[in-house]
């Protein structure tokens, strides 16, 4: 396949993955900050849970990044 076409295709997974992951992370951080402001006593527990949830979502985005890197690795610039 054409290298330029492959480079353009490699953009697709990471862009979609990053956009959806950003939207999901917005939900998590909004909910966590609301909970922290309402109950500052358990802020540290909420922060830990927020980090774990974000990491699980971020993993999906990272899979997209890996696929994009694998596609872009075939492109000779």
């Amino acid at each position: 396949m054409e290298p330029v076409l492959l480079a353009l295709i490699a953009v697709i997974p990471i862009s979609i993955g990053a956009a959806v992951a950003a939207l999901s992370m917005r939900w998590i951080s909004t909910a966590a900050i609301e909970g922290m402001t309402r109950q500052p006593d358990i802020a540290s527990q909420l922060f830990t849970a927020m980090l774990i949830g974000m990491a699980l979502i971020e993993a999906l985005c990272i899979y997209c990044l890996v696929v994009a890197l694998m596609l872009a690795g075939n492109v000779s610039l």
Partner: protein
Amino acid sequence: MEGEALQEGLPYVVVINLTLASLLLIALGAWLARDVLTTGVPGKRQNFAEWVMDFFVGKARGMGGRRVVAAVAPFLATCFLLIIVANSIAMLPIPILNYPPTAFFGVTLGLALCAVLGTLVLSGVFNGIARTLKHLVWPNPLQIISEITDVLSLSLRLFGNIAGEYLTLVLVTSIIAIGIPLILHMLGLIPTFVQAFVFTLLTASYLAAAIHRQEEREKDLEEETPGAAGAESS
């Protein structure tokens, strides 16, 4: 660039940086333990070391009694400290060694394999080998696949974050070499800490799920001798 580095085998920079990170950690531990350790009023260094270890001990105390804490807390602390030093070692101003070893997939795969195999081994120690092996295939045989995907997700998450940050840094530096990379380095401190933290937390949650059945029995023992290890951290 990235693809070639992956195909050529282990680059020497990775080996040197990983060794350097381990040496730094050993030196830090030796420096912290230079004073005579005391059970009375601790000195500055002992205070700092206890502050670091207290988080992991608190995590491990949620899983079981004193035997579990003695085995799990050093395991988690090793994960966290090695990963955070390896992530941030590229920020040392050494000319050639500016490549974080965790931005190489083999290293993170090894770390994740150690974490998951360590989970299985600790589960075998505390629950018995037969129960651990039974837990792998019962009630659902697909739980073996779950272990494999644990390895994959742990390693790919760490690798993707650090390598992505490093690639961004390299690409931006090739365009603007002054000023902007400093800001990127400052921003890079956040995933450096968060990824080490997340790796440790996920390992801790796998461990907690694996050792969970031990909890009730050990809790009874713990309530007989309360307050020996300090206040309960919540």
